[in-house]
Symmetry: C2
Subunit: 165 residues, 2 copies
């Protein structure tokens, strides 16, 4: 199973693609789609949308996992996150790809087994789970990889529970 | 000049198309794109996106005007409004159409000459300006028409000021 994780933002959109292979998890790619902060919003959303389309066309993920905070710094930031999420959800839905949303607490629980982990702890767990020499950078990309790993963990757990049923 | 106004929502998205003809304003169409409230978010955003694409393909507006609140009932509602706005902005930007955002206070000021007008006063002004026998219904459509009229008013004012310069 191949998962594209998204850390949504309208100036920088983190992405990370991981794949489960038996008991292993492989890292395929990660990075940040960014666009000039002061360019018109239409231009920015269009750039990010087409950037996400290219990533999906290259990697054909089976699922897209998007971070869904329950809180935001302020209303302006919530509008911006909502806009960025919409792009990721839309690109996936237009290709018939499953979209799952995870709260930061869910990501922390699945990736570090502890819902109140710090950002640094999560990033270190991402590094360990993917067998990397260093924490992926920039942090938006590391956050996106965490959401992707969260989805793999969720699917794995669901399969385990299904196997016991 | 033809303007598509959008009242953004991920369950009901109001739209209204108006056109300025010399000193007159003509109403071309209005309505609401709605989708099942409990369907998956990907399905809903995809439905709304393609609905907006159809409207733009039918009317070829010169500009798209989107309501941009500064406040929201709560964070969840801000995320939802942000998502709906993103669709409208993206559809327009992908076609090279200008996108303008207006706060509710700006809409009130331009449509009723008073930034603290009530929702009912704005809807009545929409009815009067478009020469309609009744207030457009549902109210999401009336709100979308108000944003479209706001943009026409803004452009008219800019032209007047430009003419004086």
């Amino acid at each position: 199973m191949r998962v594209l994780g998204i850390d949504p933002g309208t100036i920088a959109m983190g992405y990370g693609i991981v794949e489960s292979r038996n008991e292993e998890v492989a890292l395929l790619d990660y990075g940040v789609l960014d666009c000039p902060a002061h360019s018109p919003i239409g231009e920015r959303l269009s750039l990010l949308y087409h950037g996400l389309e290219q990533i999906i066309s290259r990697y054909y993920p089976d699922a897209v996992a998007v971070e869904q905070p329950f809180v935001a710094k302020n209303v302006k930031s919530a509008f911006a996150i909502g806009r960025a999420q919409a792009l990721a959800i839309l690109v996936a839905a237009n290709r018939g790809i499953v979209v799952c949303e995870y709260t930061p607490a869910q990501v922390k629980q699945r990736v570090a087994n502890y819902g109140a982990s710090s950002k640094e702890q999560i990033q270190e767990m991402v590094r360990l789970q993917l067998g990397l020499p260093e924490i992926p950078w920039p942090s938006d990309a590391a956050d996106a990889l965490a959401v992707a790993l969260c989805h793999l963990g969720e699917v794995h757990l669901t399969n385990l529970l299904g196997g016991q049923g």
